[in-house]
């Protein structure tokens, strides 16, 4: 059998050919991804024997009960959720003007340069970026130096005193963490918004102006509704990435725990995989709910 008869064989059986193509990747994703998610759920309904520190493989809801009844745990979830929402909102506010300039006002050459200028830090090493912020936010670091040079150390100290967002230093405060989160996910918000803005035909903006709308009105009534899918798509990234992150809170963190840190800690020193698994089901559910919400805003088409 040569290549041509094989080709004709598949020509007559298009579905079989499709299945053959899909089998290897689906097999992989099915086991190494979906299978592991299933293992995660399985672990979450196991429990850990307090005395032997071994995993007891009998299905039980005790782990979930432990998760939801300890008030400290609910605090953790709430804290993480709040941060995720704040980061999303801030990122949207910062990203929109940048994307707007890129698409509406920049020349094609400048726009291309902007795209590269956003992709470069976006894909630059995650850990290096977090580390850089640790240096920047340190007491002796550049941000502090800038406040001192402006004679505003008092302002910085006052900010750090505010309970809930402050901390002993910028590098170990919620506001510091917030800044780092916004920085890290900003490109993920800019790009879908820019893509959505590019899809708005120039003729719509011209029609709006022709009918008497001023730029701000056009923005509110024409541009914003059309850009919503892009905003929603970007928000999925900022929301889910913040919800699950554990590295940033441990490097630039206030003492309060985040969901990711709990998962990391429980599987590490405590060896309590069931509790870690149960904790990680929370972001899965939250993200699932969020995805369902933004799907109606058209985010899936804008990704």
């Amino acid at each position: 059998m040569n290549a041509r008869t094989l080709s004709t064989f598949f020509y007559r059986r298009p579905t079989f050919y499709l299945l053959l193509l899909l089998a290897p990747p689906l097999l992989w994703l099915g086991t190494a991804y979906l299978g592991t998610l299933f293992a995660l759920l399985t672990q979450s309904i196991y429990s850990i024997d307090e005395f032997t520190a071994q995993i007891v493989r009998t299905p039980t809801l005790a782990t979930y009960r432990q998760l939801f009844t300890q008030p400290a745990n609910l605090d953790i979830v709430l804290r993480t959720l709040t941060m995720a929402i704040c980061v999303t909102i801030a990122a949207a506010f910062i990203a929109f003007p940048i994307a707007n300039y890129m698409v509406r006002y920049a020349s094609p050459a400048t726009r291309a340069a902007f795209y590269v200028a956003i992709l470069v830090p976006m894909w630059a090493s995650y850990l290096v970026k977090v580390y850089a912020w640790r240096l920047i936010l340190a007491k002796e670091g550049i941000l502090n130096w800038m406040f001192e040079a402006a004679g505003a150390e008092g302002v910085l100290a006052a900010i750090l005193q505010i309970p809930g967002i402050g901390g002993p230093s910028l590098a170990s405060s919620y506001i510091g963490m917030f800044i780092v989160f916004v920085y890290m996910w900003l490109p993920y918000m800019i790009l879908p918004i820019a893509a959505a803005l590019e899809r708005v035909p120039a003729s719509l903006l011209q029609a709006s102006a022709d009918l008497g709308a001023r730029p701000r009105q056009t923005l509110r009534s024409v541009v914003l509704p059309l850009v919503t899918p892009g905003l929603a798509a970007g928000s999925v990234f900022t929301f889910s990435l913040t919800l699950g992150d554990y590295i940033i809170p441990s490097i630039v963190g206030a003492p309060g725990y985040f969901i990711g840190m709990m998962v990391y800690q429980q599987q590490g020193t405590a060896g309590n995989i069931p509790l870690a698994a149960a904790f990680s089901v929370v972001p899965i559910v939250l993200i699932g709910v969020y995805l369902a919400l933004v799907k109606r805003l058209g985010a899936f088409d804008a990704m």
Partner: protein, 339 residues
């Protein structure tokens, strides 16, 4: 001799849509055959069935007498000129044209020579090393033609090839394609939605509507003796009256067609010769078309009829919108139609 292409009750369904609904036809070798119809009528699907990009769900497709229903495109002696030309952008014009021979294993020198010859035939000598992106629409068209013809197919399929060209170029290409076909002598099957194009170029035309062929005949016959109301309207834009309107005008509800050039425009109340049918109406609009003018009249019986009148005709007839007018036409020129 077996027909070049034959369809025997072919059907092709996409989901719930029967794109081709029991089509039977036969194309003679050496014919210039057109498949005409609005978009969605099934003509393009039929073309793809001939080429092998679709397989029939029912019925049989035969090429040169042989059933090819499960034969892949690369084993059919048929070539296609695509609507978007489908030239390979990463190859030069010469490489594009030499593609077919290359796939058949023809040696490099031989196929280069053959390709050059083909390019000469389509009057693109000197364009060998250009890339498709550097060509105009008309030039791309000729490359696509050369690329298809170099394989000496028994049948050449053309899928609305002139759609993207401007009017003048289109008319030139129509003449060129027709003379090319006569010269080479192979069967051309031409899909279009432009009835003028189909009528002027082809030996026979199949008129498609909703997945079926309503009429298959020569251009002249389609024009003078349409069989259905769809064909009468689509081909040549005749006046068509059906049902009640037909009954009021001609006495029976059977639909009929009458060409605008057979309808005379008269002043209201002007006497009508025997053997003519007359109808009163109101002028909607008169369009000046150079040698003729076209009256659009809303008949009292219902519907709008068109009548054409030579510009040289000096007799005075109402021509302002809203004026009353009388139309008349010979009963013998009426073509009775099926539903």
């Amino acid at each position: 001799m077996a027909p070049a292409v034959e369809f025997r009750s072919v059907a092709r369904t996409f989901g719930t849509v029967r794109a081709v609904d029991g089509v039977s036809l036969s194309v003679e070798p050496g014919e210039f055959f057109a498949m005409l119809g609005p978009s969605g009528s099934g003509k393009t699907t039929c073309l793809r069935l001939i080429a092998g990009f679709e397989l029939p769900d029912e019925g049989h497709v035969l090429l040169d007498g042989r059933d090819v229903s499960s034969v892949p495109p690369y084993e059919r002696n048929v070539n296609t000129v695509f609507q978007d030309y489908a030239l390979f952008p990463h190859m030069t014009v010469l490489e594009n044209v030499a593609y077919g021979p290359r796939m058949r294993g023809v040696k490099s020198d031989d196929r280069t020579a053959a390709a050059r010859e083909m390019l000469n035939l389509v009057k693109l000598h000197g364009f060998e090393d250009r890339r498709p992106a550097q060509l105009s629409g008309g030039q791309k068209q000729r490359v696509a033609l050369a690329r298809a013809l170099i394989n000496h197919p028994k049948v050449l399929l053309l899928d609305e090839p002139l759609g993207a060209l401007d009017l003048k170029l289109r008319e030139e290409m129509q003449i060129e394609l027709r003379s090319l076909q006569r010269r080479i002598g192979i069967t051309f099957i031409y899909v279009t939605h432009d009835q003028g194009e189909a009528l002027s170029m082809s030996d026979r035309v199949a008129v498609f509507n909703a997945g079926r062929i309503e009429q298959m005949a020569s251009a002249r016959e389609l024009y003078t003796k349409p069989r259905t109301t769809f064909v009468a309207r689509f081909v040549g834009g005749a006046n068509v009256a059906e049902g009640e309107v037909a009954a009021r005008l001609a006495g029976s509800p059977q639909p009929f067609a009458i060409r605008a050039e057979s309808v005379h425009v008269l002043a209201p109340g002007e006497p009508v010769a025997p053997g003519l049918v007359s109808a009163e109406g109101t002028v909607l609009d008169v369009q000046f078309h150079g040698a003729t003018s076209r009256w659009q009249v809303r008949l009292d019986a219902g519907d709008v009829f068109s009548a054409t009148r030579g510009t040289g005709d000096s007799s005075n007839v109402p021509s302002a919108a809203g004026e009353r007018v009388r139309l008349a036409w010979p009963r013998a020129s009426m073509v009775m139609l099926e539903a």
